[in-house]
């Protein structure tokens, strides 16, 4: 699948924003600290920016409002509806922190819960597609949720360092979620690499009863929408390297840096390690998300023998 920059940016940034919103909703940060107030605004900005960038790949973004109507059948519509619904408790939580310096558990928890549901909906857009076997697994939403949580708690650790310094909870949770996320991802990758494709050129053409089917002539000499949208291929050797990079940058390095945060007391070290953990994780996530699209093979490619 074609790795569209707008979708990669959207899923990464909004995932991070929702993760941060979940950690704030759990009340892990001091609501009166200036850093926590900034964290609330950051979460809303990340989520908002993510949603905005997701409209960039639309052919007719001016009609995007129509996407709220088909929540009965469409995960994309459900995601849109949930994103708007979630904004209400998140904005309320931010308001309580900004103006009254207090944490309201009921609203916070509701915001955290709805954030998770929204991330789940985002992941289900991909997981529900039978035409892309690599995505069509419950492991996809599991990965998305854990990645969101690990990024969010990593970012919360940074804000805790900048605030009252109570980093034990967010940092330990971030480490736990990172371990869970990358374990789930490992299962996801193994599944993808050993997958027997649902469809083959033989079933796609119904000519399997004669023998092995291979493309003799494309319908057109040049690329078309299908081949450029669904026919993206990444060299296997590069994919392996990039995957290793994503595991190190997105998982290994942040875990080490967060361990430093847990072990250290020197403020400059804390700040530097927490900041670097977030930066490394986001970079790793961008690579992971790029691969998520680039490595996924669409069933239509059975008609193009690629």
């Amino acid at each position: 699948m074609h790795p569209a920059l707008s979708i990669i940016a959207f899923t990464t940034v909004s995932g991070l924003g929702y993760g941060l919103a979940i950690s704030l909703g759990g009340g892990f940060l001091d609501p009166s600290a200036l850093s926590t107030k900034i964290a609330h605004v950051t979460a809303l900005v990340l989520i908002g920016a993510g949603l905005m960038s997701s409209t960039l790949h639309l052919g007719n973004p001016q009609r995007a409002w129509r996407a709220f109507s088909q929540w009965r059948s469409s995960w994309l519509s459900r995601e849109g509806v949930m994103a708007v619904l979630t904004f209400v408790p998140l904005a309320a939580s931010a308001g309580f922190s900004l103006w009254e310096s207090r944490y309201v558990p009921a609203i916070g928890m509701l915001g955290a819960f709805l954030s998770m549901v929204t991330v789940y909906c985002t992941a289900m857009i991909y997981a529900s597609l039978k035409s892309v076997p690599a995505w069509h697994t419950p492991l996809t939403p599991l990965c998305y949720l854990f990645f969101s949580l690990s990024g969010g708690f990593g970012l919360a650790t940074l804000f805790a360092v900048l605030g009252d310094g109570r980093v034990v909870m967010p940092a330990s949770l971030a480490i736990a979620f990172l371990a869970l996320a990358w374990s789930a991802k490992l299962f996801w990758r193994n599944r993808m690499n050993t997958l027997r494709p649902t469809s083959t050129p033989e079933t796609a053409t119904g000519l399997g009863f004669i023998g092995k089917v291979r493309l003799f002539e494309r319908p057109h000499i040049n690329d078309n929408y299908l081949t450029s949208e669904m026919g993206f291929r990444v060299a296997r050797k590069h994919a392996a390297k990039l995957a290793a990079m994503s595991f190190v940058l997105g998982g290994g390095l942040p875990i080490l840096l967060l361990a430093v945060v847990l072990g250290s007391t020197a403020q400059p070290v804390l700040m530097f390690a927490a900041f670097l953990a977030v930066l490394s994780h986001v970079t790793g996530m961008l690579v992971e998300r790029w691969l998520f699209f680039a490595e996924a093979r669409h069933a239509v490619m059975n008609y193009y023998s690629t």
Partner: protein, 255 residues
């Protein structure tokens, strides 16, 4: 509404494509593009039409496949490797995955005849339906920013302002080899249903669970090259000749 019709459509209009007959001339591709660029919805645009990197929106494309049986790498030896021309357009699936993923309600399947359509005024051009379709039947028009797909020429088949003979999809009307047939596949006595029953018509990618309406008639078994050898031998042999040919045979024999 992007939920699929609850009840099975009464009529299931669709195509039956005969892979035994298709000669791969691409006339249906051109005829489809010509009709539909001026018909239902936005025109089918081309990008860089006179340049080196030309591309465009098509609702029907013809692929050509090479099918090689076990051990049939060389034609005429172990197996019967063959070329099959393969026209591909929307199959108007009963369980159309492209319909249910649509977030806006632009994609829908008609209850009355089962045709899958896009209401282009509601389409936001997100492209998710094209991802959901395993057949690659939907293509985004890059100029209009809306999703295009085969309409089964809905603006022809019910069109009383054109002659009755023309009230079939453009591709069917055009096909010079008569490889494309149009009709109601829900009616077991329709021509298309009889054809499917007689020839063992198949679904493409049945494992995707889409229940396509369109059917493909598989190529008939090819006569093996060896079976013609007997006829060749006959030409060398005049034993069975009678009448004028027997006389001519005798005369020539004596010269």
């Amino acid at each position: 509404m992007t939920s699929l019709p609850v009840a099975e459509p009464v009529k299931k209009l669709g195509l039956v494509i005969d892979l035994d007959v298709c000669v791969g001339c691409h006339a249906c591709v051109i005829s489809c593009k010509e009709w539909n660029t001026g018909g239902y919805g936005a025109a089918l645009s081309d990008q860089d039409p006179y340049g080196a990197d030309v591309s465009g929106t098509f609702l029907n494309r013809v692929h050509t496949f090479e099918v090689i049986p076990e051990g049939g790498e060389l034609v005429g030896e172990a197996g019967e490797a063959r070329i099959v021309h393969f026209p591909k357009s929307c199959l108007h699936c009963d369980d159309a995955p492209c319909v249910t993923v649509c977030p806006t309600g632009a994609s829908y399947k008609r209850t009355e005849d089962g045709i899958v359509l896009v209401d282009e005024d509601m389409c936001i051009g997100c492209g998710l339906c094209a991802w959901a379709c395993p057949y690659g039947a939907r293509e985004m028009d890059l100029a209009a920013g809306v999703m295009k797909k085969c309409t089964l020429c809905v603006d022809r088949i019910y069109n009383e302002t054109i002659q009755e003979i023309d009230r079939v999809p453009s591709c069917v009307r055009t096909c010079p080899a008569n490889a494309r047939h149009y009709g109601d596949l829900a009616d077991p006595r329709s021509d298309v249903s009889l054809m499917v029953a007689a020839r063992g018509g198949i679904d493409l990618m049945p494992e995707q669970g889409t229940r396509p309406v369109n059917k493909y008639l598989p190529p008939r078994p090819r006569k093996p090259l060896g079976s013609t050898a007997e006829q060749l031998l006959l030409a060398e042999n005049t034993d069975g000749a009678t009448g004028f040919f027997a006389w001519l045979d005798g005369v020539l024999e004596r010269i």
